[in-house]
Amino acid sequence: MEYKDSQLIENYLGGDQHALELLFDKYRNVFYSYFNRMMSNNFSDADDLFQELWIKIATSLHQCKDRDNFVYWAFRIAKNLGIDHFRKQKMKFAGNIEDVGNVVLDESGPVWESIDNEILQKHLDDFLSKANPELKEVFEMRRAGLSFKEIAELQNCSINTALSRMRYLVNGLKKGLEDYYGSL
């Protein structure tokens, strides 16, 4: 039986320790995937951040106001943890917002539809590994079900910029595939 996030949170705050485990099981892949992507598959750092995230979630869950939108709240913590981590390492977490610009999508040919999931996944991973952090983030957040409005709030940019980032990803990936496979 699938419980709603709000129900799990209330149960946990009411003293049911098992509720946190259910919440963990539900979202572990979402956040682990996010940290791995942001850390460019540095598993050790991703592990640390992932653990830190759940400790923060468990100790401050009472502060989650919109309990039906737990993912958004948790992503905010995850993002801050990522920023702190990069700051400690004196690296840049976020790239230049302007570098994406307005991307117009090429409407020609249903390249995607004919490609196998596995191949597409491989190309996506390759593309994202070279992409700037915001692009990776937009993809992971969209995958977790966040709206462009929520992503824009988390990334502190306009909705259009968040949307452009996703368009850039989609278009860039399509171009990469075409270059690789010729005229599919």
Partner: protein
Amino acid sequence: MDHFEKMEKRLLNLPRQEFRTPDFFDINFKIQVAKLQQKTRRQTMALAAAFVLSTLAIVVSIQLAVKTAPAAVMSADTPQTAAVTAVSPAKSGENLESSGFEISWSKSEDIKNLAQAVTSAQWQIDTFNPITLQE
């Protein structure tokens, strides 16, 4: 649904890689530790606040006592004790009562006790001074 939306949907619906994430039980252990630390931190803060408040109360009481005590202590050694206690306490008593303190000044014995209490309070402040403790 436009072309972008179709492509995005396809990408987002790609099967998610099943990661071998850290174990929940390991994390849960750390969560319990963090909660304990949080609780201890809260208790320490409460203790620190209580300490600061009690120290402040002692300091205030000493200041009030020091303002009024010299005359009273002096009078305790003189034969005019009764006269002094009859006049002086009324004034000092007003100040003390307004601060929430009630001290009887009717006997010279009380004045000596107060002087001792002031000395004892000063000793406590010196002894439990955070700076002294750190050293």
